[in-house]
């Protein structure tokens, strides 16, 4: 069965809810309505997670059937998903039977599988970041890239804490860079982002921008 809400209706609902939630931030008497709508939104987001996981599983089942070179990864993903789901269900049943929280197996999966993998990936990310910083002059040789490269280098040099490599002047320079130009730049960017965020919100509220398919 296909349920399709017509565009003007979905747009009207989105704009109406948006205005009520925004008004709830400014007018204290509308706070309770705002909380009800936000709570409903959170429940819908949780359902969306379930839908997303089912969609993910469906996509990878289809990929396994095709002659894609990545079908092996899809198989691993599906097995991992199934095993984690079974472990979670067993833990939940045990919690229900014992009458107190018991997520030993789930914790084991997170501590001994997910955590080491994510830590390794974080290490790879660090190397990739250093590579990107070193590569910037090859990519774009302009004033901004040159200053980006040398400021990064100065901050890194000023961060050394091993005695032979510690130079007081560099540490003072690093502190100044972080406290004055870097902070000023970050505040400028944040102001721009805040303005962009307000503009996007206003465009959605007045229905000019409809990123919800309406």
């Amino acid at each position: 069965m296909k349920i399709k809400i017509k565009a003007p209706i979905s747009t009207a609902i989105a704009i109406g809810v948006g205005i009520i939630v925004l008004a709830g931030y400014f007018i204290p008497s509308m706070d309770s309505i705002r909380f009800i709508l936000l709570r409903t939104g959170l429940v819908l987001a949780a359902v969306a997670l379930l839908v997303g996981i089912i969609n993910l599983a469906t996509v990878h089942i289809k990929k396994m059937g095709s002659e894609s070179e990545n079908s092996g990864y899809s198989l691993i993903l599906l097995i991992s998903l199934l095993v984690t789901l079974v472990i979670g269900v067993i833990d939940m049943v045990q919690t229900y039977l014992i009458g107190q929280p018991n997520f030993q197996m789930t914790n084991w999966v997170f501590t001994y599988i997910q955590l080491p993998i994510e830590t390794s990936l974080l290490a790879v990310t660090t190397i990739s970041l250093i590579y990107a910083a070193a590569n910037i002059l090859r990519k774009r040789m302009n004033m901004f890239s040159i200053s980006f490269f040398f400021v990064t280098l100065l901050v890194l040099l000023g961060s050394f804490s091993i005695p032979p490599a510690t130079i007081p002047f560099l540490q003072v320079l690093r502190d100044w860079i972080l406290r004055v130009p870097a902070l000023a730049g970050a505040r400028g960017l944040l102001l721009g982002i805040a303005l962009g965020t307000i503009t996007t919100g206003v465009r959605i509220l007045i229905g000019t921008d409809r990123p919800y398919g309406g």
Binding site: A48, I53, A132, I136, L191, T200
Partner: protein, 258 residues
């Protein structure tokens, strides 16, 4: 109503008023009065390339949802996806989308299916599109790599909420020699994007896609309104600095404190 609440309402009303004002005075203007941003020119260029080559554009929307501080970046990414779909109506295949947030995934799928039907794109899916790749930063980045490495993807547009994991996506695009346009609202990730993407979107540029991709007069007007507010903020900061310099601010603080 508190002073903060009143200020909030004033800002929103000012924005709406300015947007309406600029959309009226620029109604007959053919070309918008906006500074060029190379990243958006690149997106338009890559859409044309994908139409000619029969390839796909990959738009990754990041991990931002629709209810937190990261929502505006996610919605801006969706807006870019919509523009890309509409502009690539002549293309054999619609763009492929990927997200790390379930709500964004549903919205992206709805948008790709709806817009593809509206512009009569012949084949709906070469890749499954708009799917939820992974809900943690690294699972999302690792899952997106297979799409970036696909030979049928000619360019990558990463717009939304990303953390430092975006380095994986930008360097993967570079290894494939495919152009990478990237923008996010998170500050450390912006530095990463500047260092690693071929065409970075810095600061509020992420939110200006509609004006640069022909989404309508109201989008252009919103950019002008944003500029007016920016000048007002600059003025307030300068006045604040001068007041501080002459020691008047302490008197004002005293008056405000009662």
């Amino acid at each position: 109503m508190s002073a903060t609440g009143f200020t909030g309402i004033v800002v929103v009303v000012l924005f709406v008023g300015l947007m309406i004002f600029f959309s009226i005075i620029n109604k007959d203007r053919k070309t918008p009065l906006i500074r060029p941003i190379p990243a958006f020119d690149k997106i338009n260029q890559e859409i044309n390339v994908s139409v000619e080559d029969g390839t796909q554009l990959h738009v990754s929307l990041g991990r931002g949802g629709v209810s937190g501080p990261e929502s505006a970046a996610g919605l801006a990414g969706l807006s870019i996806l919509k523009q890309v779909i509409e502009k690539s109506s002549m293309c054999d295949y619609p763009p492929v989308g990927s997200t790390g947030n379930p709500v964004l995934s549903i919205l992206a799928q709805d948008m790709i299916r709806g817009s593809s039907k509206a512009v009569s794109v012949s084949a709906l899916h070469k890749h499954p599109s708009g799917e939820l790749i992974g809900v943690t930063p690294f699972s999302y980045a690792a899952g997106t790599l297979t799409t970036i490495r696909d030979d049928t993807v000619s360019a990558n547009v990463h717009t939304g909420w990303f953390g430092n994991e975006i380095i994986w996506l930008t360097t993967a695009g570079e290894r494939q020699s495919s152009p990478t346009i990237a923008g996010t609202a998170e500050l450390p990730a912006q530095a990463v994007i500047y260092a690693s993407a071929s065409d970075p979107l810095i600061g509020e540029e992420l939110y200006a896609a509609g004006a640069y991709m022909g989404a309508g007069k109201m989008h252009e007007a919103s950019i002008s309104a944003q500029d007016v507010i920016r000048w007002i903020i600059i003025g307030i900061i300068l006045v604040g600095v001068l007041l501080n310099l002459f020691g008047i601010n302490t008197n004002i603080e005293g008056i405000l404190a009662g």
